[in-house]
Amino acid sequence: MASTFKKETFREDYTYSNSAEAIKRFPFPFPEDQYMYSVNIEPHVKGKVGSVCEFTFDVDEHYVAECLDKKITLEQDPGRYQALPHMMDAQWDFLELTMESLSQDYPQHFSLNKNGSVWTWENKPLGIKDTFTFGDSSTLAMEPFDYMGRQVQGDFVLLDHREETLFADAGIVTSQADWSLAFNVGMSWREWHGPVPRATELGVMDRALKHLLNLQFGSPVRRLNWTMTINPRLDTSPENYPQWGGDRNAVNADNVSDLVHLRVELQTLFRLPRSNAIMFSIRCYLINLKDLSTYSRWAKRLHRVQKTMHPDLIEYKGMTKFHPLVVDWLAKFDDGAALDVGTHAE
C-alpha cells in the first residue's frame, strides 16, 4: 500500500513508472509456461500483506494520477459514465461498498462517519470531503456511482441480474483494454463478451455466466486477464483508436522493452446486497518489459508463454504487429531451465 502518491501521466508524455516496490507486487498472471484461455475464477479473499489482493480495493502509488487521468477522459467523453434509471439501488450499494472498504482498509487516507443516514466521507489524497444523505441522490453533486467511481482506480460495471442473465446497465469505463468491444450500457452478457477465440468453443463464457448468476453476497470472486499495450496508456478504448492505434508501428528492437507494457487486469465481482446486482470491477496494472525483467523468473516465463501463444489469440489481443519483437527481446533471459508452477517473482 502506498503512503505517497506519484505525479505522473498516462497520456502524451507518459511519465508513468513503477517503483521497485510496485514492480515487486506486480500481479504477474502466468503460473505455467503455456497460456490457456480459462475462466480461472477464485474467491476474492485477502491476499498476502503488500500484494494487490491484500484489500478489497487496491490503492497504490498511482492512485492520484490515475484518478486524474480518469477525470480527463470523462471530461473529454462524458458518455464513459452511463447508468440506466433502474440501477439507482445498485449505485448506492456501490457507494457503500467502496466507502466502507476504503475507510476500513486505509484509515490514513479515507474516513467515513455515519450519523444515521447522514454520512460524511473524506478522501484526503484527492482533497474531497462531503456530507450527504444515504439514499438521496439530490444530496450529492453527482450520481453516487459516478461520485465514487471517480475515487477508485479501475473501471466499474454494474450488472442487473434478470432473465437468467446479466445486463451491463451502468458503467464507468475509462481504462478499457483495446481488445474488448466498445462498452454500451444495456448490453447483455453475451453481447458484451463477444466471441473470444478458443473460449467460445470451449463453452467458457457460458460456464462463467452460470457461475456468476450464483455469485453470493459476502463471497466475491476474482480473476486475472492480460494483454499488451504500447506506452502506459489507460484509455485504449476503441473510440480513441486514432490516438493510440498507430503507436504499434513505433515499436522496434531498440525500444521494445520501454514501449511494450504487459497489461494485467485484476477483475473482481461482487454481489451487491440491496439491488441484487453484480459489480464487475476491472483494475489495470501496467509494467514495461524492462521493469518486468527485474525478475528473471518472470522474463523466462513470459518468453515461454509468448513463444507458444496461438496466433488467433495474438491477433485477438491486437499484438500481431510487435509480438515477434517481444519474443526476441525476452529470449535472452531464457536459459531453458525448468520453472516451478506459480506466479511468484523470485
Binding site: 433502474h86 441480474h161 453470493q216 446486497p273 439491488s275
Partner: protein, 317 residues
C-alpha cells in the same frame, strides 16, 4: 459458504401452524442489507444431524437490526420445520447463510402482480417493502384457507393498503387467475409463491394468455423428498456413502465430511449440480433446474432434492 452467527431474539405463534422467528447477530452488530425476495438457509443440529432449510426473509430490507422468517409446521416432513417449532427458543444460537435472492423483482417492470398462497406470502413481505420504497405500481393477491390462517393480514393492510386483495377459501372466495392476468397493461410482471398446484395454475394461465416467459416469476423451493435408501460413490473423495431414507444426498454427503456447494437446497438455483460418471439404475430427478433432456441423459444430478434407485451412482466429487 460464509455463515452468520445469529441468536434467536423472539419467537411468536402467528397462526395455528405458523411461527415467526426473529434473529439478531450474536455480536450485536447489524446484519447485512438484502434485496426483496431473498432467503437465508438456517442450519439446525437435530440429534447430531445437520439439517439446513431455506426460509424467505420477511422484514424490510432497510431494517437490518434483525432478520425475520416464518415457518409453517409440516407434520409429515423430515423434521426441519418441526424442529423449528418445537425446539428453537429465545436466546438460542443459530447459524444462517448470507442472504441469497432467487426471486428478485424485475426492476424494469411497469407493474407487478404478486400472488401468494398460504405461507407463500413470506418472500413478498420484503418485496413489498422494496416496491413501496421505489414507489412502484403493484397489487398483492393473497389466498389462504380460513381467517385464522391469514398470517400477516394486519401487517399487510398497513403496508399495502388498497393494493391488498385477500381470498379466504373457507368463505368461498376464489382468486380468478384468468381474469386477473387477462387484464393487465403491457410490461406487467407476475410473481407467484405458494403450493405447487397454485404455482402451476398461475404459470399455465400466464403462458396461455401469451405473457412473455421473462415476465413470469415463481419461487417454489422443494423440500427434499423422503425415499428409499441408496448408495453413492464419490470418485474424487474415494468413498462410498449410504443415503438414508429421510436424508437428502446433499445432507448425506455433508454428513460424511465432504464439502459440497449449495445455495437454495430446494432444486432451484443449480449450484449443487454434480456430474454423474456411472450409474446402473434410474435417477429420480426432483429438481426444477435441469432441462428435460438433461434429466433424460442422466449425466447430471441435483443432490439437494434428487435421489437414485440403483446400486451404483458414481459422482465426480
Amino acid at each position: 459458504m460464509s455463515m452468520i452467527n445469529a441468536i434467536v431474539a423472539a419467537v411468536e405463534q402467528v397462526t395455528p401452524l405458523v411461527k415467526h422467528f426473529t434473529f439478531v447477530k450474536e455480536d450485536g452488530s447489524k446484519l447485512p442489507p438484502f434485496s426483496g425476495g431473498s432467503h437465508v438457509v438456517v442450519s439446525m443440529d437435530i440429534g447430531g444431524r445437520v439439517h439446513r432449510n431455506p426460509y424467505s426473509l420477511m422484514g424490510s430490507p432497510e431494517a437490518t437490526d434483525a432478520y425475520h422468517i416464518s415457518v409453517r409446521k409440516q407434520e409429515n416432513s423430515r423434521g426441519g420445520s418441526v424442529f423449528m417449532h418445537e425446539h428453537v427458543t429465545v436466546g438460542m444460537p443459530i447459524k444462517i447463510t448470507y442472504p441469497v435472492n432467487l426471486f428478485s423483482l424485475a426492476k424494469k417492470g411497469h407493474k407487478h402482480i404478486l400472488i401468494a398462497g398460504g405461507i407463500g406470502i413470506t418472500p413478498f413481505m420484503s418485496q413489498i417493502a422494496d416496491l413501496n420504497r421505489l414507489g412502484a405500481d403493484y397489487e398483492m393477491h393473497y389466498a389462504f384457507r380460513s381467517p385464522e390462517h391469514g398470517a400477516f393480514v394486519e401487517q399487510l393492510k398497513k403496508s399495502c393498503s388498497s393494493r391488498l386483495h385477500c381470498y379466504i377459501d373457507s368463505q368461498g372466495e376464489q382468486l380468478d387467475f384468468k381474469a386477473l392476468l387477462g387484464d393487465q397493461p403491457l410490461g406487467t410482471h407476475v410473481y407467484v409463491c405458494g403450493p405447487s398446484s397454485m404455482v402451476t395454475v398461475v404459470l399455465e394461465t400466464a403462458r396461455n394468455l401469451g405473457w412473455p416467459e421473462r415476465h413470469i416469476h415463481n419461487e417454489q423451493f422443494l423440500s427434499p423428498p423422503v425415499g428409499e435408501p441408496f448408495n453413492i460413490q464419490l470418485a474424487k473423495s474415494n468413498i462410498e456413502i449410504q443415503v438414508p431414507a429421510d436424508m437428502s444426498m446433499l445432507e448425506a454427503i455433508e454428513a460424511a465430511g465432504v464439502e459440497a456447494d449449495y445455495l437454495c437446497r430446494g432444486g432451484v438455483c443449480g449450484r449443487c449440480e454434480l456430474q454423474v460418471l456411472e450409474t446402473d439404475g434410474a435417477i429420480l430427478h426432483n429438481d426444477h433446474f435441469l432441462t428435460d433432456s438433461e434429466k433424460v441423459s442422466c449425466k447430471k444430478i441435483m443432490p439437494c432434492v434428487s435421489r437414485a434407485n440403483g446400486k451404483r451412482l458414481l459422482l465426480d466429487l
